[in-house]
Symmetry: C2
Amino acid sequence: MSSESLNIDYIFKNHALLKLALSHCSSGQDNNERLEFLGDSILGFFIAEELYRLFPEGREGQLSRIRADLVQRSTLADIARELALGSSLNLGSGELKSGGADRDSILADALEALISAIYLDAGLETCRKTVLGWFEGRLAILDLDTQTKDAKTRLQEHLQAIKSGLPEYEVLEVAGKDHQQTFAVLCRVELLPEPVTGYGSTRRDAEQEAADAVLKELSL
Amino acid sequence: MSSESLNIDYIFKNHALLKLALSHCSSGQDNNERLEFLGDSILGFFIAEELYRLFPEGREGQLSRIRADLVQRSTLADIARELALGSSLNLGSGELKSGGADRDSILADALEALISAIYLDAGLETCRKTVLGWFEGRLAILDLDTQTKDAKTRLQEHLQAIKSGLPEYEVLEVAGKDHQQTFAVLCRVELLPEPVTGYGSTRRDAEQEAADAVLKELSL
């Protein structure tokens, strides 16, 4: 196996690292699971920092949603396909026969493993440059306002889907003077024992932040 | 506010960053939410890399569980208390009155914000050294085998708690020769449309890995 047959824009010094990164756990005990564990966190850091710098006006909830879109399994699998990882994967015979080389979960895991392999081979800055290069097209078209649905809508849709009661919002406090007010809004849902508080410079913003905090508590 | 009154083992060059990191969203529009977003990912990276290096024999599932314990809200809040963050927090009047300075969520968020503030003030290596110093005692007592319950137990307990059917395990494939075998085991649960595969050098290991993969799919 050689990195030259891949479109990863990086040549490994230590080819054993590349081989390990492309070895799915079905192939044996020397596989990419540990590298995937590390690579997931490196990718999370790169993307978070990039979004932090790209969107100085972005609120935390907006940045979190964009990041979740960028690092979700289907996106990572698409990037792995663009890098032509599939044909270089080392799979067990069962996975090979059942089409594992094009399965989203296997491709996404291999991509994350490849990220930490590059990190271990060349250090953080080379890894960052290479990885952000893979995401370049996706990062270039990001827009804070066109990302997914707002938090209140997503929370309501989720609760309806699982037949739980609708959320209730209540203004807890309005602090500060006329044009510098901070609203504190409580959001109550049946699934959580305590209401969750959101803050914003308008009531609407505070409700969105509260809904966002509830989605976080529910791991959504 | 000055960093000298904190036990954070770091002196800020740019005090505005420290002030921002300690400003809860209830205090106004210039608050620590964006820093928290970035800090969360930096912390995840530091802890993942440290565990990767500390436990060369650790499996991905074990490392993930240890990391989850280390970065969970209650642990971060405890560390924030050790660093004496509470009394330096900048809170809105409502949060101040209702004891926000000792609330786990507010302390944990401030700790994450402080991490990225140090990163922006001094770069990655100083930040890493400082943050891992905060975790030193907790990292020193880690043990791969005494961490929490195994995946099969946790999955079973979760499914019982939500009154869903118990998981079913099935050996899909045994590959390789006598002492180098790889078992592929399917785990089926009512909550997921497809069975999930785990791999290991014993049937028991493969079942644990399958249960672990199901817990991940369920975001647990």
